[in-house]
């Protein structure tokens, strides 16, 4: 066992001093900033509400004037924000339930696995129609559809992250919470959420990036005779590309990049800096993310006053009430152990009965809808079925080609960046920004260029998949290369390994687990991207190529739900099967054989 090093008194005192003395410069200015932000939020809410609860605007025309852009961008950001908030709440709830319900756990985790693999975009028509039916006269219906869709695209990895965090809480921490009589609330606030915080933050970043990808696609789409359009950045870019307006495209992209940089600076960096204290580590690590915004929030007296007056007393009350409830329960339990038990048993029985009924109802509903779905599938003709299979094959080849291309450039590049700290300092932030620009935003532009030089959607779709997924591989390879211990690299140099030997015995095995992780994510992303990539409307013409994604999009356009359903099922099946048969064994191999234990 490693014995932790002695306290360095000088360092300890220095950090303590930092914690106790508040260095406050510009207090008035900072408070003014906070107040300003508050006012802005208020105005934003009013603006959104008047728009949502206004009447449905059947044919929104997207203005290409740059002056319309700030409002469009604002609408898009609100959509992403709401979808993300919804995802966060749902992810925590889902993860919590899965971790603590022994009966539901297996089912819920299998569900996560499958839901993660289903191509989200094929839900679009169903969700949209349902939401529009729910709010026929209000704009909010279409908006809800878009938000729900983004939600389904970003929630699963967060739920899984929260679940696995809870599951991996060290046993003694859990026991300490029990022995010191933590209520469920206190356990959640002081143990589970902090322990899960870092995982949630990183997954949130991935999710929001994914959200942009889908938002761009679903702000403007056609279902049968109906044309759904939402004023936003995605529809602006699509319209701009559709009319071939180069200036508008440039404006749109500039705003897109600006939003991404701003999100990174104003949200993610402060959040990462804040989450630093949740690192479960024994010693303080050196590098920290600094953020002026975070400092501003921490030093604002207004904020502190506000929470001191409202949150803190409420908090005290809740804890007091919880503690009282606990002692009452124990008293009752001790007073009449026998009678209480009987009552408890009866209550339990009633509860079981209730649950039984609920279960039956759910089962009936599931069987009913599944039956209808199957009936729908029966109308698919053999010819159509064959076409779907052919399409599946074509998309399969395309997905793998894009993976191969991505791996071909990202492995050498990633290893070079990972081995060279100086290069990493320059390349990593650039790559991060490039990676967060949603590929769907670039796609219309890219396609326009391709068509001009005589290329088609065959190349275009692979390019889009590449655009969307190569980053996952690149970042993982960089991380893998960085994780290869220096002494192993020194051994390779010392024994004068040839370049080939170096790659075969050191680099490739070293990055293997990371590479696989990146490829799994990339593969899933590529399948999903195929729906957008293989079918595209440009300047009043529809570009289309053979593929499963194209069939899903075309079926959406034409309102052929049976084909949509079948194609979706085929795609989900393929993704799940490939995951189980190819990626999971490889992943396990990486975890066991190629794991570098330090």
């Amino acid at each position: 066992m490693e014995i932790p090093g002695d306290l360095n008194p000088a360092r300890g005192r220095e950090t303590l001093a930092r914690a106790q003395v508040l260095k406050r410069s510009w207090p008035f200015f900072l408070d003014l900033c906070v107040a300003g932000i508050g006012l802005a939020c208020f105005y934003g809410v009013v603006r959104i509400a008047t728009y949502w609860f206004g009447h449905a605007q059947p044919e929104i025309t997207i203005s290409l004037s740059p002056r319309a852009l700030p409002l469009y961008a604002f609408y898009s950001v609100v959509r992403i924000g709401l979808a993300y908030a919804l995802s966060l709440v749902f992810a925590v709830g889902y993860g919590y339930l899965a971790a603590y319900s022994r009966r539901l756990e297996a089912l819920m985790i299998a569900g996560l696995d499958i839901l993660q693999s289903i191509p989200v975009l094929s839900f679009l028509p169903g969700v949209m129609l349902a939401m529009v039916a729910l709010f026929p006269t209000r704009q909010i219906g279409v908006e809800m559809g878009a938000i729900l869709l983004i939600f389904t695209g970003q929630v699963w990895n967060m739920a899984f992250s929260f679940y696995s965090s809870i599951k991996s809480i060290p046993r003694e921490l859990n026991e300490a919470a029990t022995i010191y009589r933590f209520s469920r609330l206190q356990r959640l606030v002081q143990l589970e959420l902090p322990y899960a915080a870092i995982g949630l933050v990183w997954n949130s970043m991935v999710s929001v990036a994914g959200g942009w990808f889908f938002l761009m696609a679903c702000e403007m789409f056609v279902l049968g005779p109906r044309d759904f359009r939402l004023p936003g950045l995605g529809s602006y870019l699509q319209t701009a590309a559709g009319t071939g307006d180069g200036v508008a495209i440039a404006w749109g992209l500039a705003v897109m990049v600006a939003i991404i940089v701003a999100t990174d600076q104003l949200i993610w960096r402060p959040v990462i800096g804040w989450s630093d204290k949740f690192k479960f580590e024994q010693v303080e690590s050196g590098a920290r993310v600094r953020s002026p915004i975070l400092r501003m929030l921490r030093q604002s007296t207004a904020l502190r006053e506000l929470s001191g007056k409202t949150l803190a007393p409420l908090n005290e009350r809740v804890y007091h009430w919880l503690a009282e409830r606990r002692s009452r329960r124990i008293e009752a339990l001790a007073a009449e152990a026998g009678g209480e038990e009987l009552k408890a048993r009866r209550r339990q029985w009633e509860f079981t009965l209730l649950r039984g009924w609920a279960l039956v109802l759910v089962a009936v509903a599931v069987i009913y809808s599944a039956g209808h779905a199957v009936m729908l599938l029966r109308t698919v003709t053999g010819e159509q079925f064959l076409l779907i299979l052919k399409g599946a094959g074509a998309t399969f080849l395309r997905v793998n080609l894009s993976l191969l291309l991505a791996a071909a450039w990202t492995i050498p590049a990633g290893v070079a960046i990972g081995f060279n700290p100086r290069l990493a300092r320059i390349a990593q932030p650039v790559a991060q920004i490039a990676a967060s620009v949603p590929a769907t935003a670039l796609f219309p532009v890219l396609l326009l260029a391709l068509v001009r030089v005589g290329g088609g959607l065959g190349i275009g779709s692979i390019a889009l998949m590449l655009l969307g997924t190569q980053w996952y591989i690149l970042f993982n390879v960089i991380a893998g290369a960085m994780a290869i211990p220096t002494d192993l690299r020194e051994v390779a140099t010392l024994f004068r390994f040839t370049r080939w030997q170096r790659w075969k015995t050191l680099i490739l095995p070293g990055i293997f687990p990371y590479l696989i992780t990146g490829m799994v994510t990339a593969s899933g992303g590529a399948w999903n991207a195929s729906i957008v990539a293989e079918y595209f409307r440009l300047k009043n013409q529809t570009l289309q190529t053979l593929g499963l994604g194209a069939q899903i999009s075309a079926a959406t356009d034409a309102g052929q739900f049976q084909i949509l359903l079948l194609a979706t099922i085929v795609m989900a099946l393929m993704v799940v099967t490939i995951n189980r048969l190819v990626w999971r064994p490889l992943y396990r191999l990486g975890e066991t054989r190629y794991k570098l234990e330090g």
């Binding site: 306290l7 300890g12 921490l173 009589r181 206190q186 024994q282 005290e316």
Partner: protein, 447 residues
């Protein structure tokens, strides 16, 4: 007669297995904690010390029997205990003060009172001025002080400690121990009883009014006696060393299993020896040291010489005894003729001696070798042995048994193990047949 605070009646712990066998961790045991005493629970690893502690605190429910808290079943009683953990179990995202306050907050105490009590207890344990620090800014010893403060602030009737000093260096541990004893003796803390789990015999003799020694397979009480030595206790005093020696003897005596404790129902007898988890290199090292000590020495002194915890040394001693390299009587280890030859030989001869001893004495290794020889492709899946061991050991122990067997078998070149296919295979001979296999196991480099 002193008041019984906690009483355990016939508590036991077992894990049900898919087959009808079950893994018995703790055999039915009676135990009580009385007010005014410090109880130390000693035992080798795997004797269920921590499991027993968790059952006594109500954290874990016994598989059979009942634990009483002031004569009420512990599941329905308002239990007031604390635990000091080996890993400290502090919340790294809370400051020292918040960590201590959390326990009071859970009891619904108001903010001002909470703060007053927490600051007072932090002062008591010597953490004055550190309240705003985060645990990761503190040294191990300081962190465990926070652990003590948190445990004491709720004024527990019984203070449980699960190897509280074993993650600390020797001096820090000594320091904390004596401070704790002082708090207890001067009645600075209202705690009425302390229960400490440890594997450090001296620690037990230093602190305890009563010592309980557990045996393993399954865990059971070997002996339970009062310590009548005056405080402060002197490690050099003859009464002290005699008691330490006595406990060593109890711990190192070959486990002659009391017949009253069948490990498994259905009369299925355990027939695999439990392989001690020791590396061949460690065995060689021990034997060489023993040879330097004229071939015979007290295990306690050997541990001291090596700066080993006895818990770390015992598996190595057990392994050497199992292989017939040494004998143990009354806490003394004596080297045998083969042991001496082994210690004096160069590496190839050592491997040969180890090979002979292993096949002769270790059933599992013998079976693996035979199974490989019997197969035409000279390979046997790991699963096969896993299933056989599984009937006797817990899942975790089975995996460890196989790991040890693989380590010994590879060293002795009895067999090799293909980690990719999870199969035991014949060791590659010097004529290079299969380049792939060779790169896998580092032992091959020696050959």
């Amino acid at each position: 007669m002193a008041l019984q605070i906690i009483r355990a009646e016939r508590v036991e712990k077992y894990y049900a297995q898919p087959s009808e066998n079950r893994i018995q961790v703790i055999a039915p045991t009676d135990l009580s904690i009385e007010s005014g005493e410090i109880v130390a629970l000693l035992g080798p690893s795997g004797s269920g010390k921590s499991t027993l502690l968790r059952m006594l605190t109500g954290l874990s429910e016994p598989s059979g029997g009942e634990v009483y808290w002031h004569d009420k079943a512990i599941s329905t009683a308002d239990v007031n205990v604390s635990i000091v953990f080996q890993s400290f179990a502090l919340f790294p995202w809370l400051t020292v003060l918040e960590n201590v306050e959390a326990a009071l907050k859970a009891r619904g105490m108001d903010a001002a009172e909470r703060r007053r009590r927490s600051l007072k207890i932090l002062d008591t344990v010597g953490l004055d001025g550190f309240q705003a620090a985060y645990p990761k800014e503190l040294s191990g010893g300081m962190r465990q002080r926070v652990g003590f403060a948190r445990a004491l602030v709720v004024e527990p009737e019984v203070l449980f400690m699960d190897e509280p000093f074993s993650a600390l260096d020797v001096l820090t541990a000594e320091n904390l121990r004596s401070e704790l004893l002082e708090l207890w003796q001067k009645k600075t803390i209202p705690t009425r009883s302390i229960f400490i789990v440890t594997h450090n015999i001296e620690e037990a003799v230093l602190l305890a009014d009563r010592i309980i020694v557990l045996g393993r397979n399954p865990g059971h009480v070997r002996t339970d006696f009062k310590v009548k030595l005056e405080h402060p206790r002197d490690r050099k005093a003859s009464g002290f060393t005699q008691l330490v020696d006595y406990i060593y003897k109890v711990l190192t005596q070959p486990d002659a299993q009391p017949p009253a404790l069948p490990a498994t129902p259905a009369g299925r007898r355990a027939h695999y020896q439990m392989l001690p988890h020791a590396r061949p290199g460690g065995i060689a090292g021990l034997l060489e040291l023993l040879l330097d000590h004229q071939g015979k020495d007290d295990i306690y002194r050997l541990a001291d010489d090596l700066a080993f915890e006895i818990d770390d040394l015992l598996p190595i001693v057990d392994a050497a005894r199992l292989l017939g390299f040494l004998t143990v009587t009354e806490g003394d280890a004596a080297i045998t003729a083969t042991g001496a030859e082994y210690a004096n030989s160069e590496i190839l001869r050592q491997k040969e001696l180890f090979r002979i001893a292993a096949v002769e004495n270790v059933l599992l290794l013998r079976q693996i070798v035979r199974a490989i020889e019997a197969k035409s492709d000279r390979s046997v899946p790991e699963e096969f042995f896993h299933d056989m061991l599984d009937e006797q050991f817990s899942e975790e122990e089975t995996v460890r048994q196989l790991e040890t067997a693989i380590s010994w078998g590879r060293y002795a070149e009895l067999f090799d193990f293909d980690a990719g296919r999870r199969r035991f295979i014949q060791p590659a001979k010097l004529s290079v047949e299969d380049e792939e296999e060779k790169t896998e196991s580092p032992e091959e480099i020696d050959a």
